[in-house]
């Protein structure tokens, strides 16, 4: 049963992720991405990472995808013009990554049951997923957390600089 659920989510993720790059209409690509985000969230639930699943839907499906769609509409792409020169590079890169995956899997016995059930769900489920994340994030991982706010600040100001038509300056000067 657990394997079945894992392969359902994994299969849909691979399929929709392929569709994202294969579909010619960028809006369809974005919708395919939406389906993928939901299935990734499903995979997180099976791994007992409920908080991550909720975040996946709130941030990726809720905010980032909207941003993607806005950008698609902004560029007014009807159908994507494609460049096919990079097929060889892509194939080589894919081959390398595939080889790595095979190496990784070959270097240890494959246990599917351990893939769908996290090896240490007890820690998380004892106190609740969100709570344990909170405790770790605001003690051990405080440093990356505070740096994250600086990243958001740069992103915010960068977005204004790169997209705002300096209208206010021209008014004032």
């Amino acid at each position: 049963m657990a394997n079945l659920i894992f392969f359902y989510f994994a299969g849909i993720i691979v399929l929709t992720a392929t569709l994202v790059v294969a579909l010619r209409n960028p809006v369809y690509s974005a919708l395919s991405l939406l389906v993928m985000f939901f299935h990734v969230a499903g995979l997180y639930v099976t791994l007992h990472a409920e908080f991550l699943a909720a975040i996946q839907i709130i941030i990726y499906a809720g905010a980032i995808l909207v941003l993607y769609l806005f950008v698609v509409m902004l560029l007014n792409l009807k159908r994507e013009e494609r460049f096919h020169q990079q097929t060889l590079t892509a194939a080589l890169l894919g081959l390398v990554l595939f080889g790595e995956a095979v190496l990784l899997l070959a270097s240890r016995p494959l246990r599917l049951s351990s893939m769908s059930a996290s090896s240490e769900p007890n820690v998380a489920s004892a106190v609740g997923n969100t709570e344990s994340i909170g405790e770790l994030l605001y003690s051990t991982y405080l440093f990356p957390f505070e740096v994250a706010s600086l990243i958001l600040l740069v992103a915010m100001i960068g977005a204004v600089i790169l997209s705002k038509k300096g209208l206010l300056e021209s008014k004032s000067s």
Partner: protein, 123 residues
């Protein structure tokens, strides 16, 4: 919540999702099976309250949508950090308040900047 491979208390959500998807698929499929197939041009056009079609639905969005969406994403991420913080706030105490205060203060600088530069105005 136990140690089962898939948390069972998410089963209602799964059932709900399946019913939701099935409702859409089944009703479209049923309509397609039952209705007669005699298309002509006017029938294939999008329905706009009976008036003739005057433009494509895919118009080019102005740039300001991008800034709004970008700011939305950033504040969405900020909210995400607030959830686990609120859950464990009792344990964190004063230090937790300071931690989050610094985080929010840094973002407020950016918000203030965007406000001053008129990124939030619709003009």
């Amino acid at each position: 919540m136990g140690n089962e491979p898939v948390p069972l208390n998410y089963l209602p959500i799964a059932i709900f999702a399946v019913i939701g998807a099935a409702f859409g698929i089944v009703s479209l499929l049923a309509g397609w099976l039952v209705r007669p197939h005699r298309p002509y041009r006017a029938k294939l056009l999008p329905y706009e309250s009976g008036s003739p079609l005057f433009m494509d639905a895919r118009v080019q969005f102005p740039m300001r949508y991008y800034i709004i969406a970008m700011l939305f994403v950033i504040f969405d991420i900020e909210i995400v950090f607030l959830f686990p913080w609120a859950v464990v706030f009792g344990k964190l105490g004063l230090l937790g308040l300071i931690e989050m205060g610094v985080f929010i203060a840094i973002l407020v600088v950016g918000f203030w900047y965007a406000w001053k530069k008129g990124a939030l105005e619709w003009e």
